[in-house]
């Protein structure tokens, strides 16, 4: 049977879409973080580093305490700490936010391996037992719905959390007071400041939130999907999340759609034992698509007005 035919056949299997959703969520969390951060005017390409740090500390904590929830908290905290560095450097010191982001990613990758050496020595990072992993949960009843049940209600707990966060992020950004202020700060910090809004507080909060979400994604990767830490296991997802954020035009649901597309590509490739697909084209897919979006072929993508601009109080 032809590869195309095989793929079409795959597309009607619930398994494929179940895998797609899981893969998408892994990207969605950092993408949401990036969206929040950039809506507040702080460019964030450091999700990769925050995610990696989260993954490492998540595993370390889980191995120590055999408690996935605690570990997840630690992972988020670790991501948030990395984010804090980015925040201090780019908000307080008004550093170039892209350079700071690159530095974070290099730093995180270097630090995690450095710490493996210190903590585990030659013994590799151990393996978390099944019992201490973030569990897969089948939603009683709903999981029996044909097709949709498997896709949406037989997933890891983090998937459900992420979907809630997706809706939450959308509501917060576009329906709440806080969201109004975040967007105001990202559009016109001076205006926000003169309106009595604490620009720095908002931006710090937004960046740290992006760290929390990236850290959560790291935990999902390390102690949800797999059960150990492998150097650089994030494998560039932070950058794909960045692409998804732009693809989604800085909106949560837009980013989600992008993540689904990228996730689908991965899910299809996962079947290469059954059907032959060139790994290369599929691996390029997210980046090519993003270029196409940027090329305006699928509508232009316009970021917040003050995205990437440090705020200098009293300046006009």
């Amino acid at each position: 049977m032809s590869a195309i035919g095989d793929i079409l056949h795959l597309l009607i299997t619930a398994n494929l879409w179940q895998a797609t959703l899981a893969a998408a969520i892994l990207l969605l969390l950092p993408a949401l973080g990036g969206t929040i951060s950039e809506r507040s005017g702080v460019v964030n390409i450091a999700m990769e580093g925050m995610m990696l740090t989260g993954a490492f500390f998540g595993v370390a904590a889980d191995l120590a305490w055999h408690n996935p929830w605690l570990a997840t908290g630690v992972a988020m905290l670790a991501g948030a700490l990395m984010a804090m560095v980015h925040a201090v450097v780019s908000i307080q010191f008004r550093a170039d936010q892209i350079v700071s982001g690159i530095a974070i990613n290099i730093f995180a990758a270097g630090l995690t391996v450095f710490l493996i050496n210190r903590i585990y020595g030659l013994q590799d990072v151990g393996h978390v037992d099944q019992s201490a992993l973030l569990p897969n949960i089948n939603v009683p009843g709903l999981d029996q719905i044909p097709f949709l049940g498997k896709v949406f209600f037989q997933q890891n707990v983090i998937v459900y959390v992420a979907l809630v966060l997706l809706v939450l992020t959308h509501l917060v950004l576009f329906r709440t007071r806080l969201g109004l202020r975040i967007r105001a700060v990202g559009e016109h910090p001076q205006a926000a400041d003169t309106a009595g809004i604490n620009v720095f507080a908002i931006r710090y909060g937004a960046v740290v939130t992006s760290g929390l979400l990236s850290g959560l994604s790291g935990a999902f990767l390390a102690i949800g999907i797999s059960n150990t830490f492998v150097p650089n296991m994030t494998d560039g997802r932070g950058y794909i999340a960045l692409a998804a954020m732009i693809f989604g035009k800085w909106t949560p649901f837009g980013a989600f759609v992008a993540c689904l597309i990228f996730g689908l590509g991965q899910a299809i490739y996962d079947n290469n034992s059954i059907i032959h697909i060139s790994p290369y084209l599929l691996s390029m897919l997210p980046y090519l698509l993003t270029l196409i979006v940027l090329a305006g072929l699928v509508g232009r993508s316009i970021p917040p007005a003050a995205d990437g601009l440090p705020y200098v109080p009293g300046s006009e």
């Binding site: 390409i45 350079v99 290099i106 692409a243 993003t290 270029l291 090329a295 970021p303 007005a305 601009l309």
Partner: protein, 392 residues
């Protein structure tokens, strides 16, 4: 330019110093001895004060081999900085250059050096230029932010390379992950004879891998300085970087300048890739999967404050760090990762201009951004993405 250099010098030097202090603290905090670590690092990088019996000449040679591509790639990042563009794509452009160079070097392997060598080098530059051109055109026409497009192009280059040498048209033989070697005529000569029997400094001269690419890199640096400060184009590039509007009102075509800048930058990055192939590897190998020259180049350009001399100095520092890392591990038992942590710290330090902050932001020195006083900050995402440069 000299003036620029001297006024700018305190910041980068301070940043490096700060980074090393912090790095030392990390080493100490994790039970290592920073002094022996740095001693080994210096030995490995500059062949000075070696305790482990290293051959100074060999260490210096190794460092220079790393420095060569860092210089040209550094220019590929620094030039766009001048035009207000942030080229994170040097790595992808470098790969494109090495691919083009290899393809030509294999296809015409029989040609004599005087013809083939220029061909592969120019071919590499063209390859890199085209790769960067994509970002340049997208930027100039519809304002797609170059940071994002170049990141995407990096990935695409990576996967394209894998395709080519793992099962693709350039693969040497099934099961291998490298291409066949380029023709002898396409190779850059080493400065010392590539002879196993000739003994120099107590070692076979063939171990000193310094090649004539060094001269090309230095020439490139000189050309970069000339272009920037002595030509109309350089003037226009700087004008566009400092104020697109003013440039446009003056009748400078912002779009053309952006595209031309990216093309030239890509050319330099491509040259770096071509030199690596023609001077060191002579074939595409899996080593390019893990190559990071194009990213180190960002640090080099920033640390070098975008000036030719600064870039050369910064390239020497990072080349030495890379070469020294191995020795540090062998002699002092400190992981080579420290090198990367140091690099990140240097980036932070420059980006945030901690030095300036420490010095109470003394006017004239305390510019609180990643870029030296006469460099524009990387353009904000929005104004760029939303408003592509308009022309009359």
């Amino acid at each position: 330019m000299v003036r620029r250099l001297t006024t700018g010098l305190a910041m980068p030097l301070g940043s490096v110093l700060l980074a090393f202090v912090l790095g030392g603290l990390i080493v100490a905090a994790t039970g290592g001895n920073p002094f022996s670590a740095y001693a080994a690092l210096v030995c490995g990088g500059f062949g000075i004060g070696c305790a482990g019996g290293e051959n100074p000449g060999l260490q210096i040679s190794n460092t220079i081999v790393f420095v060569i591509p860092l210089i040209t790639a550094g220019i590929a990042v620094a030039l766009p900085f001048r035009a207000g563009l942030f080229n994170i794509g040097a790595e992808g452009q470098l790969l494109a250059g090495s691919i083009a160079c290899t393809a030509i070097g294999i296809k015409f392997s029989s040609l004599p050096s005087p013809i083939l060598l220029p061909m592969v080098l120019v071919g590499g530059m063209v390859g890199g230029a085209l790769w960067a051109g994509v970002a340049g055109v997208l930027k100039a026409t519809i304002g797609a932010h170059e940071v994002v497009t170049t990141i995407m192009m990096n990935y695409i280059a990576q996967w394209f390379l894998r395709y080519l040498i793992v099962g693709g048209p350039l693969q040497l033989a099934p099961g291998t992950s490298k291409s066949s070697p380029i023709g002898a005529g396409a190779r850059l000569a080493t400065l010392l004879p590539n002879d196993n029997s000739l003994i120099i400094l107590g070692l076979p001269s063939s171990v000193f891998r310094v090649h004539t690419g060094l001269l090309i890199a230095l020439a490139a640096a000189a050309g970069f300085a000339f272009l920037l400060w002595r030509t109309s184009l350089g003037y226009e590039i700087r004008a566009v970087g400092q104020s697109q509007k003013a440039a446009r009102y003056a009748g400078i075509s912002v779009r053309r300048t952006i595209i031309v800048t990216m093309l030239i930058a890509g050319g330099f990055a491509g040259l770096a890739g071509a030199i690596e192939i023609a001077g060191v590897d002579h074939n595409l190998t899996d080593k390019y999967f893990s190559d990071t020259t194009g990213f180190d180049a960002i640090a080099v350009a920033l640390l070098g404050l975008g000036s030719a001399v600064g870039i050369v100095l910064a390239a020497i520092l990072f080349g030495a760090l890379h070469a020294g890392g191995s020795v540090m591990q062998a002699d002092a038992g400190i992981s080579g990762n420290l090198v990367f942590i140091l690099q990140a710290l240097i980036l932070f330090s420059i980006a945030a201009n901690f030095v300036g902050a420490i010095r109470q932001r003394i006017p004239g020195l305390g510019r609180p951004t990643a870029l030296p006083p006469d460099l524009p900050p990387a353009a904000p995402m929005m104004t760029e993405a939303a408003a592509p440069p308009t022309e009359a």
